[in-house]
């Protein structure tokens, strides 16, 4: 293997670009965190290393593009997976015209809908975890915080995070983007299920700290 190049230093894992048997791959390494107690550190890293590929596999079954997994190295808490060429949605959203932006968000909403319909919770739906490939597919990556459940609560939290991510990173058009996301979501899950998830989001927000609306409705 050629020497891997660090492409992203995240809070949870580091990503390296490498050549592996003639393929361009991403190495996702969950390095020990010095700040964490060693037993807890090992538990978290091992769990996520095994769990993430499982969820990516489930996502594929649900019809959502995710990178191909080549190898899982449990001992070193490393996953070797396909490198997806393309652009992060995070970057694209601030570059493209409004119409295209809405279309992208609509498609993202559909993908999330497909995941949820299949019982997969992504757990970290931010626009930096979505990549538009040159052939026009949107790939979802980074399932490390995901879960396998059909619970309404989990679905609500998942989509609520997406909303919050849009607000903190794309605050200028967060509302417009999130509306497109929910439209796409509703197209897959149907108006009724989608409404119950959106109601759940409202409930989660009210549960949240210092939400003005909660006080007004009390």
């Amino acid at each position: 293997m050629s020497s891997p190049v660090l492409i992203k230093k995240g809070a949870e894992a580091n990503l390296y670009l490498a050549d592996w048997h003639g393929r361009k791959v991403v190495l996702k390494k969950r390095l020990p965190k010095k700040y964490r107690q060693s037993t807890l550190d090992r538990q978290i890293r091992t769990y996520r290393t095994i769990h993430e590929p499982q969820l990516m596999h489930e996502a594929k079954k649900a019809g959502v593009p995710t990178p191909i997994i080549f190898l899982i190295d449990r001992k070193n808490a490393t996953i070797i997976m396909e490198y997806i060429e393309g652009k992060q949605i995070k970057q694209l959203l601030s570059e493209v015209p409004e119409k295209e932006r809405q279309q992208l968000c609509f498609r993202i909403g559909k993908l999330v809908g497909k995941l949820h319909r299949f019982g997969v919770i992504h757990g970290d739906l931010t626009t930096s975890n979505m990549i538009l490939s040159p052939d026009g597919k949107i790939f979802l990556v980074d399932f490390g915080l995901g879960d396998k459940t059909e619970e309404l609560e989990a679905r609500g939290v998942d989509l609520h995070l997406m909303k919050r991510a849009l607000q903190s990173t794309h605050f200028r058009f967060a509302t417009e983007c999130f509306n497109s996301v929910t439209n796409g979501y509703a197209e897959v899950l149907g108006a009724e299920t989608s409404k119950s998830v959106l109601d759940k989001i409202k409930e989660i927000e009210k549960r949240g700290r210092y939400v003005a609306e909660r006080k007004e409705k009390e």
Binding site: A11, K33, Y35, L40, Q43, L161, R164, I204, R209, Y210
Partner: protein
């Protein structure tokens, strides 16, 4: 008369969002002349908002007197009165706001309502000298990671349910531990945790940028009640697990924003283990780490006074008719023109 007006460059800040009633006085240059804190400590159980508010009303005038004496200035030298307008407990906030309105109208000076969370960040910056940090603010009522971006402070992660300090306090009460002035529950748990050796597995719940502590608390209390584990081990495991969660969301915000400073504040910031974790993260990302000294990390009037200076000198005032308290006022809602 003219000389007196020229000397008017002091701000008095009133803090009363929860269990502390405090008054601080700051010069317009950020010199803190007084910071008197009077804490309400219930004999049993948590903070009862009405009881706390009664405490604030009782101690209000003497705290004011002490603050003025300590600062060495006269009340007529004050240019502006600042108060914590929210977020916080309704009855407590209202008591502080009432004192603020009374003072402002008596002295005929403007009033400025301050967001409590922003005040924590601003005083932290003032006393540690950091300029543009990722702030981890952990207290009995708040647990959030905030950083400045495009005109406002934005939340890059927060608790979805209870605050970190609240989690520790409730556990301590369930374990029948006792606190006293100078030795709050958090410190009692910290001390016990030092003697803990074995890590008991507890739920670790990070949901993207946010975290959840209620499941962790429930699990810890359930194990406690079974009586099969040593309390020291349980305190140790509770701290390790909860702190690792806030550490992860802090690191995430740091990686995301690329900022070069990390500020730790709030009551829980006094915990040495938490400090060491956040310091390690800062080092990992080649960022400067600072922890706010306890006097300015807990709820205090000085932070309100100083943020009042920043707001007032940037043209912000709060007319009395708009000085109603805001129990759930998020810091993202506030413009911060003093940051560039």
């Amino acid at each position: 008369m003219k000389t007196r007006k020229a000397n008017k460059h002091y701000c008095l800040g009133i803090e009363s969002t929860a269990d502390d009633f405090s008054i601080g006085i700051s010069t317009f240059h950020g010199k803190i002349l007084a910071n008197i804190i009077d804490a309400y400590m219930p004999e049993k159980g948590g903070i009862h908002p009405r009881e706390a508010a009664r405490h604030h009303a009782e101690v209000g005038s003497q705290v004011l007197e002490k603050a003025l004496t300590k600062s060495g200035i006269k009340s007529r030298d004050l240019a502006v009165i600042a108060f914590s307008q929210g977020p916080g407990l309704g009855p407590c906030l209202r008591t502080g706001a009432t004192v603020a309105r009374a003072l402002a109208s008596y002295l005929d000076v403007p009033l400025v309502g301050i967001n409590h969370c922003i005040a924590h960040v601003e005083i932290g910056k003032l006393v540690t000298g950091v300029k543009n940090p990722v702030t981890l603010y952990v207290s009995g009522g708040n647990t959030m990671v905030a950083a400045f971006d495009s005109g406002r402070y934005r939340v890059f992660g927060e608790t979805l349910d209870i605050a970190l300090g609240n989690c520790l306090d409730v556990f301590a009460r369930e374990a029948s531990l006792t606190q006293r002035p100078g030795m709050p529950f958090g410190a009692v748990i910290e001390r016990l945790a030092l003697k803990g050796k074995e890590l008991i597995s507890l739920p670790f719940t990070v949901k993207g940028m946010d975290l959840s502590l209620s499941g962790l608390l429930t699990a810890a209390v359930t194990i406690l009640k079974k009586g099969e584990c040593k309390l020291e081990d349980l305190c140790y495991s509770l701290q390790e697990t909860a702190f690792s969660m806030v550490a992860e969301v802090t690191e995430r915000a740091l990686a995301h924003t690329g900022k070069k400073e990390v500020l730790l504040t709030g009551g829980v910031a006094a915990n040495k283990r938490l400090q060491s974790m956040i310091r390690a993260i800062a080092e990992e990302h080649e960022a400067e780490f600072d922890v706010v000294p306890t006097e300015f990390a807990i709820d205090n009037g000085a932070m309100v006074a100083w943020t009042g200076v920043l707001a007032y000198t940037h043209g912000m005032v709060t007319p009395v008719e708009k000085s109603f308290v805001k129990l759930r006022w998020r810091l993202e809602e506030v413009e911060v023109p003093w940051m560039k």
